[in-house]
């Protein structure tokens, strides 16, 4: 039976590994939509990484970082999606 800290560490490793294909798709994506979808997925993985590391480091301040990153990454994805759809932002 593993402890909660070890499970947290394993989850961190899995999530950091999950960002690697996203980075590949951002760098070599054929179209812009592929890059944006990969960037959104990587942002969500980063939010969970910050939340898990806040538990690992026993620091409540990293939860602020996770919440800010979630909101700003969502806004950025919406803006680029509207640009791809309509050709203008606002």
């Amino acid at each position: 039976m593993i402890s909660l800290e070890q499970a947290d560490f394993i989850a961190l490793i899995v999530l950091v590994a999950a960002t690697a294909p996203c980075i590949y798709r951002v760098l070599y994506g054929p179209t812009l939509a592929d890059r944006i979808a990969a960037e959104d997925a990587m942002g969500n993985a980063l939010v969970v990484i910050f939340a898990l590391y806040a538990y690992q480091a026993s620091s409540i301040f990293l939860m602020d970082v996770a919440m800010l990153l979630a909101i700003i990454s969502f806004v950025g994805t919406i803006v680029v999606a509207k640009y791809l759809d309509k050709g203008e932002v606002i």
């Binding site: 301040f61 909101i71 969502f74 806004v75 919406i78 803006v79 509207k82 309509k86 050709g87 203008e88």
Partner: protein, 150 residues
């Protein structure tokens, strides 16, 4: 104009943005936060409304002069920064006071009053005004792009 899904999510996200932005503004100084990141978050929420509903439609309901928000915020922060000179202290000196917080006869603790809160408030309005002024000015510039857009 966008879909109904984007509009609904934008309205929900605006409430969370405003609440968390005020929280970051008020806890700044003791914990991570402050006027700058609170202003960025507030500008993100209002900019998301601009993106979801369209600038022309939002302008009919609520159209403040964002550049004057920038100017008044800068003036407010500057007055806060130079006001300790009048009392003979250093530039940017911050006053600090603990006052007892009593509500209805119950002593709830101590309320911490700092004068750097006013400087943070000035920075808050500078960031909101500057960012949204840029966003609206760039958004109004509907140039003829030969290969972008429909």
């Amino acid at each position: 104009m966008t879909t109904i899904i984007t509009k609904t999510i934008a309205k929900i996200c605006l409430m969370v943005d405003m609440l968390y932005s005020l929280d970051l503004l008020l806890i700044g100084g003791n914990r991570p936060g402050g006027g700058f990141i609170g202003g960025v978050l507030c500008a993100c929420g209002i900019g998301l409304i601009y993106v979801a509903y369209g600038y022309e439609d939002v302008k009919k309901i609520w159209n403040p002069d964002w550049h004057s928000w920038f100017g008044y915020g800068l003036l407010f922060a500057s007055i806060t920064a130079i006001s300790p000179l009048l009392a003979g202290h250093n530039y940017f000196r911050s006053a600090f006071e603990l006052s007892p917080l009593i509500v209805g006869g119950f002593h709830l603790g101590e309320l911490e009053l700092v004068s750097s809160m006013f400087f943070d408030l000035g920075v808050y309005f500078v960031v909101i005004g500057g960012l949204l002024f840029i966003v609206t000015q760039v958004g109004m510039d509907k140039g003829k792009d030969p290969e972008g857009g429909k």
